[in-house]
Symmetry: C2
Subunit: 155 residues, 2 copies
DNA sequence: CGATCTGACTTGTTATTATGAAGTTAGCCT
DNA sequence: AGGCTAACTTCATAATAACAAGTCAGATCG
């Protein structure tokens, strides 16, 4: 049980959650993936309060997941919008994995509320755990955890 | 931009986050995947406070992600431990996806602190987004979102 | 047999976050 | 000039989390 000897705070899961683990953050990003980019749309669609949305957007920009841009419709005044950066787009597997888990374990009797399909072939999309040699891990027990180069011992 | 017409609360990502989106919850599960199952070990390793840990464990059990068991070492008194259920184990892709993102975007100069490898072949493990026909989605733009059978319109 | 230890929690009390309602500001439109 | 609107602030209140201490029951020790 060597895992206990390593510092829990120096773990990529922990570090990821420090960035995206707060309430509303992932939902803002989910909407950003779906083309919702403006303050008022996000607020109305998510049902988040103004101050929290403003603060979340600020930290998402500071952390480099979103970038602000100015958006001008002709004949209307310029508005601000928030676009996903590559760093933000890299969270796609996280969102798909959450979607898949919710579909399986939190769907109502009617089935999943949202379907994500492959644009090219129309088949449903899912998050799979695979090794780089191409084997799929069907159970967590097929994975093995070991300290990496950046591991730190616990205090 | 049809997405805005659908109820944000009736989305599997939202529902998943309602279960596992609170602070410490995923970290408790991460440790459970790594064999940490007892109250005091979790508290000491995670650095979470007693009341929060007790409350999180209670709701994780209530939600069916962990199940309590009694564990007796010979010659010692019985202790309680918490084991992952199948529902909990199904979160593996979420954790791997978070690990991968953190490895890429939050690692220090030494590289990732934890490595997960395939037990059989020793190769590193990653979360991939694929369609069931076996094509890998290299960009979120290859995925297409549409309302599913359980979709609900917004108020 | 009573005292102490230990693991697994509660029960306070305080600090941090989130919510809700009401401003504020700046650009455009009439 | 006056009003509208998007994108925020500010301020008061409610919910969560953290920290410190206390409880309780089953060992084990003397």
């Amino acid at each position: 049980m060597e895992w206990l000897e390593y510092d829990s705070a120096a773990c990529s899961i922990r570090r990821s959650l420090d960035v995206i683990g707060r309430k509303w953050t992932l939902l803002i990003l989910r909407d950003a993936f779906n083309g919702v980019r403006r303050f008022d749309q996000l607020r109305d669609h998510l049902g988040v309060s103004d101050p929290v949305l403003a603060e979340r957007l600020r930290t998402l920009v500071a952390d480099g997941l979103l970038e602000p841009a100015t958006y001008s419709e002709p004949g209307r005044r310029a508005r601000r919008e928030y676009r996903l950066t590559d760093k933000g787009r890299d969270l796609y597997p996280v969102l798909i994995a959450l979607l898949q888990w919710g579909d399986k374990h939190c769907s109502g009797p009617d089935g999943p509320p949202v379907r994500v399909t492959h644009r090219d072939c129309g088949e449903p999309v899912e998050a799979k755990v695979m090794c780089v040699a191409g084997h799929e891990l069907t159970s967590p027990s097929e994975g093995q955890t070991a300290p990496g180069p950046g591991a730190e011992a616990r205090a």
